[in-house]
Subunit: 380 residues, 2 copies
């Protein structure tokens, strides 16, 4: 029962007892960033690393992309910005870090001290920023106009009022941005509507770099590229296109160890709720992975994992820390205690798992847990 696993996972030696390994290919992230540059019609390509780099490590991702030439990173929260800024201490790059969720009252000095770039979502934030960092000592800030997603950002009429002021118009804004609601559906009429409104906004601030597109928006063509694009999900390998093959390189691989293999008889129940009943006798492998690790409980009804290239269907309900696989059709020498099972990788992408669990790749990535041994490929 104690044979060596048939294919050896990439595990740092002091962690030989590790139960699961998340491999993050930073070289693939750089390749994706470069591919997006070729699609961005000359626009600057920033990188969105909010939510801890979509679960993959904001610092690791940003350090790597900075070394490849990316100079602007977006986070959502101030704390994320401060943490990312700290992570660059002692490194040769000091990129811009923009905070999407805005400039809360009272945080202006904090932004200035740590060279964070606020995204100004309303006229009050604009006024507070102009008070904190007035000419002739302006600091970097981004204006956010809502063009129809109705989520964050000032209205076009607010922007028009502000732009009537000479001091506002003369301020060296880092960018004027907006955000699309339906970019993954190129034919959606909302795209053209938002584009038209954003052009109106842009005309109020000639000379200020404009930014409308995130991952999917980059693939809407030259009209949507403007001066700056802000990809997130596509960098991490999520398909930015709702139809057609994924142009991005996969970034994530996930494997988990078989804790036990058991023989089961026909009719035996497997897992919580006795929800699965064996149609015939066979063998079950239990792996050290569960919904606490971000493998959605709702993915338990479909999909398979891979063991040494053999397909192993998930059976029974997903537990918090355990998943059971039907390995009846896999050679006993392959589906063996201690072997590593491929959960995400060549056989099953993040998007596949998202589809099987009724969500999107973005939520799979941000839901990735922290009990993995993380292995970074190509770390900067």
């Amino acid at each position: 029962m104690n044979e060596p696993p048939p294919h050896s996972p990439e595990i740092p030696s002091p962690l030989a007892y590790t139960d699961s390994v998340l491999t993050i290919d930073l070289d693939a992230i750089v390749a994706n960033w470069r591919l997006l540059r070729t699609r961005a019609h000359g626009a600057e390509v920033a990188a969105v690393v909010k939510a801890n780099g979509y679960g993959l490590g904001a610092a690791e991702v940003a350090h790597k992309l900075a070394s490849a030439g990316c100079n602007l990173f977006f986070v959502a929260h101030i704390d994320e910005g401060l943490s990312l800024r700290r992570s660059f201490a002692g490194r040769p790059f000091a990129p811009e870090i923009a905070v999407l969720n805005g400039l809360p009252p009272g945080t202006e000095a904090l932004f200035l001290e740590h060279r964070l770039t606020p995204v100004l979502n309303d006229d009050d934030a604009v006024r507070r920023w102009l008070g904190a960092a007035p000419m002739p000592h302006p600091a970097s800030a981004i204006l956010h106009v809502d063009s129809g997603i109705n989520r964050l950002g000032m209205s076009l009429s607010s922007l028009r009022e502000l732009a009537a002021d000479e001091g506002f118009a003369a301020y060296p804004w880092r960018a004027l941005m907006s955000h699309l609601a339906c970019p993954e559906t190129p034919a959606h009429e909302q795209n053209a509507r938002q584009l038209a409104l954003f052009r109106d906004a842009q005309s109020l601030l000639p000379g200020v770099p404009a930014s409308l597109a995130a991952s999917s928006g980059i693939f809407l063509g030259a009209d949507y590229a403007f001066d700056l694009v802000r990809p997130g999900a596509a960098l991490y390998g999520v398909n930015p296109l709702s139809t057609g093959p994924n142009p991005m390189r996969p970034v994530v691989a996930l494997s988990a160890r078989i804790l036990q293999v058991r023989d089961v008889d026909r009719g035996m129940a497997v897992g919580y709720g006795a929800a699965h009943s064996m149609a015939s006798s066979g063998r079950i492998a239990t792996i050290s992975l569960g919904y606490a690790d971000g493998f959605p409980r709702s993915a338990g009804l479909v999909g398979a994992m891979s063991i040494g290239g053999f397909e192993a269907p998930v059976i029974g309900r997903i537990s918090m820390d355990l998943i059971t696989l039907d390995v009846s059709q896999i050679p006993q020498s392959v589906a063996v205690q201690g072997a590593m099972v491929d959960v995400l990788g060549a056989h099953r992408s993040v998007d596949d798992l998202a589809r099987d669990s009724g969500t999107i790749g973005y939520e799979i990535l941000t839901g990735i847990g922290d009990r993995y041994t993380r292995v970074y490929r190509g770390q900067a």
Copy 2:
């Protein structure tokens, strides 16, 4: 636009810019542990703190429960056990810490060195343990027999073979455990079947403390209590009963800040995919919380949050870092920028959110993100 929020959140002062606050009531966890003791028919009550204490902080929970008299904690992974052991350094308690996912080959010395109690899931693990910690210097270990969930644990026949050996039978096993598949459904025939099998197993090892019930199993009555019970979810306020009111005290409260309030016209689209269209003109509040924080994307279609006691329905799709609420029916002085919105609390429990997103409270808890300011009540 810059009024003070109408009800002040409990935020540590250096984090006045915090966007969201997760409050964890450790006193309620102790109260739940004590309630379970009154229901456990004299059995010892351990505490399951795997998956970082179901997302709420394994160390904080265990320190508090240890000070209340709990002396045995269960984790899933070795790393969780080591981390929890380290957290008790310099504290007056040195509780037992048991590792459910077993004793991987080669880790025996690690378990002994750090006084971790392995749960032995197969005969090979038993033999390795007896080799590593033989009589007359035995160490704490738990035997796990599978009684019908077919997930982890040795078979009854394996246990019978082992028990025929005198050395095995004389070893001072810490416990003999098994795990129920359907305890939240008292009438399910699987419960009685597992009980009968477990009794057979118990009869092989007279004198060894027996343990079958976790949270829901405790409520199945005296037959299921045996000598030791292992609650997890119920400690954290999840309802252990599939029908009827929740006997447990709520533990978690979650609030998030309003970043912006906007007026919207009839027919305007809100959020990704333009999936929501305003039936009439009104106001929208956008809060700093999203699925990256563990608020499931699938919960976007139902449910409401609470602002100053007023109900605010979620509208539009849940974004990674933002959620939009319809605040048209709430006084403008209440639904104001900077105000805190109650996401989980008296108006909506963890179980409510689980039901609304098609999962169980366990997955909501373990999915809780790490961008919150965490406030512990009653910290030990």
